[in-house]
C-alpha cells in the first residue's frame, strides 16, 4: 500500500474519531476542546472519567448520530474513542 493510501485510511478513522469526540463533548457538556481527547485514552474510570450515567447518555447519542444501537454491547466498546469508532463505522474494524 502506498503512503497516500495509508494516509487516506488513517484519515477515515481520524474523521470518525473526531465525530465521536465532538459528540461526547457536546452531549456531556465537557469544557474541553474535542481534539484534546486522544483516540486511545480510556473513557471510563481512568482517562475521561465517564460514569455509568454518561454511558446511558452516550448510548442514546450514538444511536441518534450514527444509527448504531450499542445497548447489548460489552463495556469494552467504550475502551477508547478508537474502539468506539470500530463499532459505529464497521468499515474501520475490517482493517483494525
Amino acid at each position: 500500500m502506498t503512503i497516500d493510501e495509508l494516509r487516506a485510511r488513517a484519515a477515515e478513522r481520524q474523521q470518525t474519531c473526531s465525530q465521536i469526540k465532538k459528540m461526547i463533548v457536546s452531549r456531556l457538556d465537557l469544557e474541553i476542546e474535542p481534539d484534546w481527547i486522544t483516540d486511545d485514552q480510556p473513557l471510563f474510570g481512568r482517562g475521561l472519567e465517564l460514569d455509568s450515567l454518561d454511558v446511558l447518555e452516550l448510548y442514546v447519542a450514538i444511536e441518534a448520530e450514527f444509527g448504531v444501537a450499542l445497548y447489548d454491547s460489552e463495556m469494552s466498546v467504550f475502551g477508547s474513542v478508537s474502539r468506539l469508532a470500530d463499532e459505529v463505522n464497521p468499515a474501520l474494524r475490517a482493517t483494525a
Binding site: 494516509r7 488513517a10 476542546e33 483516540d39 486511545d40 480510556p42 478508537s82 474501520l92
Partner: protein, 354 residues
Amino acid sequence: MASVLASIHPEDTVYGEVGDATVPLRFSSLTEEYGVLRERAALLDLSGHRLIEITGPAAVDFAQRLLARDVEYLTSDRCMMSLVLDESGQVVDQVVAFGREDGILLESSCGAGTRLLEHLQARKEDGVEVTDRSGDLTALGLEGPYSWGVVGRLIDGELASLPFESVVDTTWDDVEIVFARTGLTGEYGYQMIVPVEAAAGLWQRSLEHAQAAGLDALELAMLEVRQPIPRHEATPGATVVEIGANWLVDITKDEFVGRDAVVEAFENGGGRRTVGFTGCTGVPAPGTRVQAGGQDVGEIVYAVHSVGLDATLGLARVEQDLAAAGLELSVGGMPVTTLTSPYVVPKSWGIPII
C-alpha cells in the same frame, strides 16, 4: 533505593535498576505473574514509588501550581493521577496525588522519585514543606480481576467496592494505613500505604491470598491498556500531546508549570503522535525507524513481547496523519499493524465486585 521488602523476597527474585530504585522485576516468570495479574490477584511491591509529602499553609497552592491536574479541592478521601511538567512542558513524572488533611501526598512513578523531589524542592516557596516520606512509608499494590476478594479477606470487604480513586484511612492489624482504590492495568486495583515497619507483615499476609508479581508483568499490563509509563514514553523532546497523555493534564486549569508549552503544542497541531502496534519478529529497540509505503515516518518508542497477545506489542511515534489503528506499517523491514486501544481487554471489565 532498595526495596524495603528485599529481605523477605525469595532469594531468586530478579531485581533491576529503574531510575533511582532497585525493584523486583520478576519473582517467578513473566508468563506466570502476568497470568496472575490478568486472571486472579497480583501483589505488587511498589517501594520503587517514592512518597513525597507537601505540607504547610501554602501546600495546596503549591501543588496546584506544580501538578498539571486540578488538586485544589482534592479532599482526604480522594486521589488522582497527574503529570508533573517542567517549564518547557516536558514530563518530569506521572504521580498519584493523595489529598491529606495537612496537604498532599505524592507517589512518584517507579524510580523517578529523586527527579520529582529535586523538581519540587527547586520550586519550593515560603509556607511549603516538601518531605521525602519513603524512609518511613511504602506502598503495596493489588491488581487483578479478583483483587477485590483479597481486600475483603485482608482488611474489609466494603473497601473493595469503593469508587475509583477513593481513599480511606483505616487500620490493618492495628496499624494505621492509607487504603485507595486505584489501578494501573484496567483490572481492579488497590494501593495500601503503610509504615515501613509494618510492610513485611502486610506483604506476608497478602501472599496468603494473592501472588507476587514484579515490574515486568505490571508494565506489560499497563502497556496493554495504554496506561502511560513515563520512563519509556517521555522521551527527550516529546510533548504531552505527542505522548498522548493529554488526559493527565487539565487544560482548562488557568495556570500550572508547563501549561503554556502544552497549549502551544496542542494549538500548533503538528508533530507526531503515539500509536500501538503488533507484528514483526522479535522486539524492536527504541529508536528503530518506522516506514510507511517505503518512507520514513517515525520511530519505535518501546516494545515488549505481550503474553496476552502472544506477539510483539509496542508503541510507535509517527507522523500525525498516520497515527491511526488498522494500518500496515514496517519496522526494520518487517510488517506491523497499528492497533486500537485497549490492546487486551481487562477481565475485570466483565466481572462484578460481589
